[in-house]
Symmetry: C3
Subunit: 132 residues, 3 copies
């Protein structure tokens, strides 16, 4: 398992990580199958979406914050229940097809680490190569 | 990797694809493990849900459209930010158990391609067999 | 494939299942790779989130119920469309890293079976070990 570390700079932030992930697996012996990408956090998720126009990410950040407001009569004493809820809605992990050691994504697809309780300096993604 | 192509006929449409996926993998040497199903798009997702009563799919379409309205002060110039957001909420891919080359789903479960920016004639699903 | 059975006691309930899953796989020959966890239902999902403070789960239950109200002019005659929608939003399955036969989760992460149409006595999770 490869562990990558990322820093985030805002409370809610969709951070593009495609290049970091692609570079990390380029150092491995090539395989064909899947790459599993896991966020080990409970207030940060992982997703795939467009990265050509940065407005897509900012529209997504605003929409997710508006779906799950930060202040909404939550009981959890840490005050970050909204971040936990968004993490479960987006999802803690996903798998991506790999051919000969390279990510096989759709033309407009890119990977995002989804920060929902930032800023943080020690966000991780755990990568598990899965040969088919 | 097997690439299947689908047409959709409405902007938001949960298209049943269980039979197409099952037929595609029936042509392969049988394996036991998982089948990974990937939507290579940023405005179309994949999910599993009931397919016995078509009202379930239409209720889901209406509820997703109502959660994330099409017009909501988005910045993205293409005007389809709502489709991007719904794709991330539902998810771009999933894996399904397979035994002897056949999908192992719950009694009421079926696969859906979730169109959020249709109609389109060239939606794809990418299938990756993963023997355990 | 290992099939675990769970009972739920409320309509919407995030039931912690980390220990049950960990014990089930401890009985298997150890492997490194992934564990795929599948909910074979259309009104119950699976997620990962914090389990240290039970208020996180109850805040998530309330927020999901408030995002997708139980009564909202649905057509599906069974009356449980909200449960179907929440199942697709949270997701029917996920994979978790495994090293030497043990789940590798983040410090605060735990597995939940997400009941959205309970109570039920026969909810299942299907576990598929995937060596890398």
């Amino acid at each position: 398992m490869i562990r990558l570390t990322f820093s985030t700079s805002r409370r809610t932030q969709l951070l593009p990580v495609t290049r970091a992930v692609a570079e990390a697996i380029a150092a491995l012996p090539p395989w064909t199958g899947l790459l599993h990408i896991h966020s080990p956090h409970t207030t940060a998720a992982v997703t795939i979406n467009e990265q050509a126009d940065p407005d897509v990410a900012s529209d997504m950040e605003h929409a997710l914050d508006s779906l799950v407001p930060w202040n909404d009569h939550y009981d959890h004493a840490e005050g970050n229940s909204a971040a936990h809820i968004k993490t479960t809605l987006v999802g803690p992990s996903l798998s991506v097809p790999v051919e000969n050691g390279r990510l096989v994504l759709g033309r407009w697809q890119g990977l995002y680490l989804c920060e929902f309780d930032g800023p943080r300096t020690t966000r991780e993604l755990w990568l598990t190569p899965m040969p088919s």
